[in-house]
Structure formats: structure tokens, C-alpha cells
Amino acid sequence: MDGSNILEIRDVGKAFPGVVALKGVSFDIKRNTVHCIVGENGAGKSTFIKILTGVHERSSGEITLDGKPFAPTRVRDAMAAGISVLYQELNVVDELTIAGNLTLGQEAHSFGFPKQDTAILEKAAGILASFDESISMDTLVGSLSVAQKQVVEITKALCSDCAVLVMDEPTASLSLGETRKLFDTVARLKASGVTIIFISHKLDEIFENGDYITIFRDGEMIETRSLEGLERSDLVRMMLGKVVVNDYVPSPAIQTETALEVRNATTRKLRNVSFDLQKGEILGFYGLVGAGKTEVCEILYGHPCAGEIRVKGKATRLDDVRKSLKAGLALVPEERREAGIFGLLGIRQNIPLMNMANVKSHGLVRRAEENRLADHYIDALSIAARDREHQVSLLSGGNQQKVVIAKCLNRDSDIILMDEPTRGVDVGAKQEIHDIIRELAGQGKSIIVFTSELQEVVQLCDRIALMYDGALRQIVQNGPDLDTDHIMKLVAGEEIEA
């Protein structure tokens, strides 16, 4: 570490039509360090990385790389300037050998015939061997493990003499052993003079590998500092911002009857997750991105897991969507457009699709019943639409979400799973959706809300299950004396005395 800056970012901003994703951030990245960037979804860090790697062009500001102005307009520009990216999803070609992958797109050739460039291949083989001596250059990439494929990608970046390597959640699909190997790699890269920009949601990794950290929130740079002496909970607080007034009201109808029991649920991502859900209760699952919330939702709705799940006391396998529905669960999915709405259809057609029984008599669909149902939900959930035939893809995000909720409510399931129920909806609609959820609980439904917004769990949920790295660390009771510091410590993975 010679202390000079390899990258200097000054007032860099990015505006998309209708959205300002990055509001003029400025900070420096020192040469030959591991510089972490953290922030929740939508904080602007991925926009920043895309500007740095030439995927997006910035709207304003300056970047200097090695003292020279840097403005990449294509991925290749950034690569040529020495900035390479290790993406979260693997970008290797399974059907080619390692050698084939390492040279892909940069082969030496004459008239399209590749020339045997032993210098490049030897260099690549040397780099590869420094990470993993067991794999040969002639191995087919398709036969490698995920971690080995990642090593191939890192090798490829190093072959092109990169000075800055961006790692975008590199451990997302790695096992512990593989993660360990990657961290060794990071240390070795740093030793060889490469600057690493490390993006992760896992705080352990950041504290283990990082030298400096930049925190993004709502498109702004909150702080850039050394990781030394930084408390985890302070970091989380900076990431999440201030939690405003807690206007939580307990659900009125919580009964001691257990609606759902999960015991020792274990999958690739989850470790021994156990919890109960009472009738009439709103249970929140909270954790940082990647902590395992989505996976908990999945094992209740169509994905297999090891362990035991009991619905109303009865052991049930929920490894198929239709089994879950039959057992009395229904899901409001996270990806509204991809998995929730039927965009080309009208509100009337959307609402009965999870349960046609309500609009049928004598086996036939009755239009009058559909109309009644649609009018009922448009009124009950205050869906702002021209009429019940309004095409759902043309509604606003909040109203689309209400249609998805209406579709789910029409199922009349006793247990409703809501994955990020208010993501991408405006403040007013958010409040309305919260009111709907409370009302449902009041009617004796059991609701699980999966969210990465602390504000949401604190306002809405009776109990809050705190996830960290695939494990359920604690379930805390909500109430006036709820300690948000305690929550932040838990989701940050800090050890707490029992």
C-alpha cells in the first residue's frame, strides 16, 4: 500500500428516465487495497459499478483512473483500461476447455485461424496454477465446480493485466470451503498488487477481507472510511438509515392455536430454521439481502427441504406449489411482474385465477360473479383503476400489487406469505397495503412478511424473525420496548451474549 489513489470519483451521478439512481457521489479508492462497497438494494452501488465498468454511461461527474480521466462507454473500454469484473452469475462457456475460455474473445489469430500463442497460454497456466494446481488447462469447464469456474474467471481477468478487479457478490453461490479458497485468492491478488473492489451483503466477508469501505444509501455516498475500528452495528445503521416512529399496533386476534410449524428446515442456503406461526399473527422475517429470507419463503411454497413442516398440526410436504395451496398457504411473490400479475389480462380476469371456485356455479364460470368479485376487491383494497377490465400491466406498481394481493385473498388461505409486499410501490400505497395486512390478521389469518426493510417489520409485525447467513438467529417480540440496535446487531452477525 503506497497510499496513492488508483481511482478518484468526483460527483458521479446517473439519472435514468424518471429515476435518479446515483446522486453525485465522491470518494477515493486507494491503490492495492480491498475496498468494499455496501448498501441495500436500490442504494446505487450496482449503478456505480456499471458506470465504472462501462455498462452505463454516467450522467455527470468525473472519474480518474491512475491520474488519467476515465470515461468508458463499453465493457471493452473498461477492460482495456485495466478494470475487470467478476460477476455474480458465472460467465464461462461450459463447452470449452479452460484454455478456450481464458482466451475467448482475445485469441491471437491469422485470418480467423487461431495461432498457438504459447506465451499467453503459459502465463495463463501459471496464474491458474497459483490458485489451483489440480486443474489442467485442457479440462472442460463444464466439469468444474462453481468455485473452480470462478477461479477460471479470475484467471481470465488477471490474464488481461487488470489493475482493478471488481467482485460482485462473489460468494453468492459458493460453499464454505469454496469461499475460504476465494478469500485466499483475494489475499494473494492483493499481494500481487491488484486493487479489489469487493461488493457483498455478507458483513463477515467484508470485515475479514476489506481495508476500506464505502457505504451507499438511497443513491448517495454515506461514508468512506477504513474498516479498522468500525463496529458492525454502526455499519448496519449507516446502511439502513434512521428508523422513524414505531407506530406498531399488536394484531388483535392472535390466538394460541399454531397454524404452521417449521422444524430444522435445511437446504443449501438454510441451516436448521425452526419457527412457529400463530393464528391471527403477523410474523416478519428480516435480514440483510442474502440472509435467507427468500429461501424460507421458497421452502413453504414449492421447494423441497430437509426437516419437518407441520400445517395446523399435520406434517405436510410443501415441495410443489399445488401442495402448498392445498395445505392452505398462498403466496404474494416478490417479483410482481415476472411471477405475480397476468399483465395482458384485466383486473376481473386476474383476481379469480388462484381459486376459480368463487366464480363458478355448476362447474361454469359466471361472469356476474367475476364482476362482483372484481368490484368487491377494487372497493375493498381501493384499487385505482378505470374499471374492472383495466389491463393490469397498465396499472401503477402499488395497484398491481393490490391486484396480486386480491388474487391471493380470493384463495381464502389461512396462511398468507408475502415476499417484499411493498417493494417498488409509493408511500401512500405502502400504507394501504400495511392496513390490508393488519386487517387480514384481524380476521384470524396468519401472515408471514418477508422484507429487507427494517421500517416495515417494525411497523407491521407482531414478532420478528431475524436471519443471518441462512440461520434464524432469534425471534423477537415487537412492542414499545423493541430494541432496534439489538436487531441490527443480530442481522449484522455480531455475537451477542445470551
Binding site: V93, Q106, H109, F113, G142, S175, R271, A471
Partner: protein, 340 residues
């Protein structure tokens, strides 16, 4: 770059099994019919199949990128008619052929642009072009085969010999070798594979994905057009209705040869052997006086079986891909114990 090693093991064996099937079929028909196992018959089969071999070889490369051209048969018919018309109009045959090839290339350009610029599914885009091509073939000749006024040397292309080998066989040999070299010895083959296997990786590696896809569409169109010229020359006429199911033969050859619809891998040799299997079955059955309709049926059955086989491979690899590596669950258990 040793590409032969990069093919997954099963495909090497699939090509090998196909080869064994091919040999077995030859032995079977040789035993069943006196006329089958003769040099003349083999020359005849190869002459008839030269168009199929050429186009299937090119289309295999295109399929490696995950694309397909259904308009090849229309292009073949259109090119044959156009070539005959130009020849009948008194143009020198070479010039007529060049103009025809240029027109045939137009199909490839339009297909390629529809797929790369407009991002229309290659199946639908080329299906539309198939209609347009079929219609054009009939329009240019007014619905009638072009037979009269053809120069005397019109049939020479297909009936001449060079170095003791019929010219069409030489053309097919040169063309197939060219595509084998392109696939296995040049960067285009490697890039085509990369595009079909992981398009994103190809883009991020700086490969010009659209240019290569477009280029391969043009290559297939050129071969289909050349096939049209050869077929017209073989039958001595420009027939707008000829070889309607050409593209189906191409699909059967490619899929049986082990190239999946989704692309990512492919074998020119596999395609060629598969094409020869289809041809030998056709020729052998007609030698045995089996009704020609059985050929259609057998082709259909082969297509469905090949699809199921290819999909099974896909499903198989998916299962492997989603099974967690052994060390992961062990590691998870270890940490969960530690956490408690």
C-alpha cells in the same frame, strides 16, 4: 486449440454410435439387395444428397448458436427457379449462378436481421421467410417449371466428372470440409459454440454476437441457394415445388447428429453421418421396393426420437447442475453444529 477434446464424452460416443448404425444399415441393405452395394449406387446416393449435406453442415453451425433457418427449402426452390430462368434467358451459367447466389443470400440477410435486430424468434422469422420464398419461387416463374430454352450445358454441373469423381460429390466434399474446418479449426466455430452456450459470456468477452449470427444465417442461405442451383442442374429444370421437405431433412440430420435446438455444442461429422443414415435408409428401402411413404414416416419417427434423446441429455445435465457438491452439505452441517 484441440476442439475434439472439448466435446463432451457422450457426443463423441453419439457420433460413434451413429457411425456404427450407418455401417450396420449398409451391411443390412447390401445383404438384402443385389443392387445396393455398388459403387454406382453410392455415387448416385452422394450425388442426390450433396445438397442436403452442404446445407446441413452450414445449418449445424447456425444451430450451435441456438438459431435455425426454416426457410432453407424455400430458398432452394427459389434459387433453382431463378437460376433456370436466368440460364434460359441466355446468361452465361457462371453469371447466372452468381446472381442466384446473391439473391439467395438475401434470404440469409433478412433472416439474420429479423433475428438479431428485431429479436424475433428464429423459428417464426424464418417460417415467415419460408412462405415468402415459396411464393416468390412460384411468382418468378409464373407457377410453371422452367424447362424450355435451357442451354445444353445446363446439366453439366451435376453430371460432369473431375478426377474421376462426379462434380457434385466434389462440391459437397469441399463444402463440408470447409464447414468442418470453420467449426473445429477457426475462431468462428469456437465463438458460435460460446454464443449458444452462454450468450452473456460471449458478449462480455467482446465477441460480436450479432455479426456472427448474421454471418451464419447468410452462410446457410448461400448453401441452400447453391443446393438449389445443384438440384436444378441435376433434374435439368427449375421446379418451384421441388424438395418441399428439404428443411425437415436438414432438421432430422442435425438433431440426430446430436446438436441440440438450444445450441452450445454441435458436431458437423455427426450431422453428416446422420444425413447419410437418412439417405441410405431411403435408397435402401426403395431398392427393396418398400413404399416411399415409409421414408416419410421413418423420418418423422427419427425426428421425435432424436428430440427426446437430446432433451434427456438436457434434463440429465440439469439434474447434475442443481445437485449441490458433496462438500457443501457437509460444510453446512458443520457450521450449523457450530452455531448451536
Amino acid at each position: 486449440m484441440k476442439q475434439a477434446n472439448t466435446l463432451p464424452g457422450f457426443m463423441k460416443s453419439q457420433t460413434f454410435i451413429l457411425f456404427l448404425v450407418f455401417i450396420a444399415l449398409n451391411i443390412f441393405f447390401a445383404l438384402m439387395s443385389d443392387h445396393f452395394f455398388q459403387l454406382g449406387n453410392y455415387f448416385n446416393m452422394l450425388k442426390q444428397s450433396s445438397a442436403l449435406l452442404l446445407t446441413a453442415a452450414a445449418a449445424t453451425m447456425l444451430m450451435m448458436t441456438g438459431n435455425f433457418d426454416l426457410s432453407a427449402s424455400a430458398n432452394l426452390a427459389f434459387s433453382g427457379v431463378l437460376y433456370a430462368l436466368l440460364a434460359a434467358a441466355g446468361l452465361p451459367l457462371l453469371l447466372a449462378a452468381l446472381i442466384t447466389l446473391a439473391a439467395g443470400m438475401g434470404f440469409g440477410l433478412i433472416n439474420g436481421l429479423l433475428v438479431t435486430r428485431w429479436e424475433i424468434s428464429p423459428f417464426i422469422a424464418t417460417l415467415g421467410m419460408m412462405f415468402i420464398g415459396n411464393g416468390l419461387a412460384l411468382v418468378v416463374c409464373g407457377g410453371q417449371s422452367v424447362r424450355s430454352g435451357l442451354p445444353d450445358n445446363f446439366r453439366n454441373l451435376m453430371n460432369a466428372e473431375l478426377l474421376g469423381l462426379p462434380v457434385p460429390i466434389l462440391i459437397a466434399l469441399v463444402g463440408c470440409t470447409l464447414f468442418w474446418v470453420l467449426t473445429n479449426r477457426t475462431l468462428i466455430g469456437k465463438y458460435a459454440m460460446a454464443i449458444g452456450s452462454n450468450r452473456n459470456a460471449a458478449v462480455l468477452s467482446g465477441i460480436n454476437v450479432n455479426a456472427i449470427t448474421l454471418g451464419l444465417f447468410v452462410a446457410v442461405a448461400l448453401m441452400a441457394s447453391l443446393s438449389g442451383i445443384m438440384t436444378a442442374s441435376r433434374i435439368g429444370a427449375g421446379d418451384p415445388r421441388i424438395y418441399e421437405f428439404f428443411f425437415m431433412d436438414v432438421v432430422v440430420a442435425i438433431m440426430l447428429g446430436g446438436t441440440p435446438l438450444s445450441g452450445g455444442r454441435g458436431s458437423i461429422i455427426g450431422t453428416l453421418i446422420a444425413a447419410m443414415i437418412v439417405i441410405v435408409i431411403g435408397n435402401g428401402l426403395s431398392m427393396l421396393n418398400v413404399l416411399i411413404f415409409w421414408q416419410t414416416i421413418i423420418k418423422g419417427v427419427i425426428l421425435i426420437v432424436a428430440m427426446i434423446l437430446n432433451e434427456k441429455v438436457k434434463f440429465g445435465s440439469r439434474v447434475v447442475a442443481t445437485t449441490p457438491p458433496a462438500d457443501r452439505s457437509v460444510a453446512n452441517q458443520a457450521t450449523s453444529v457450530a452455531a448451536q
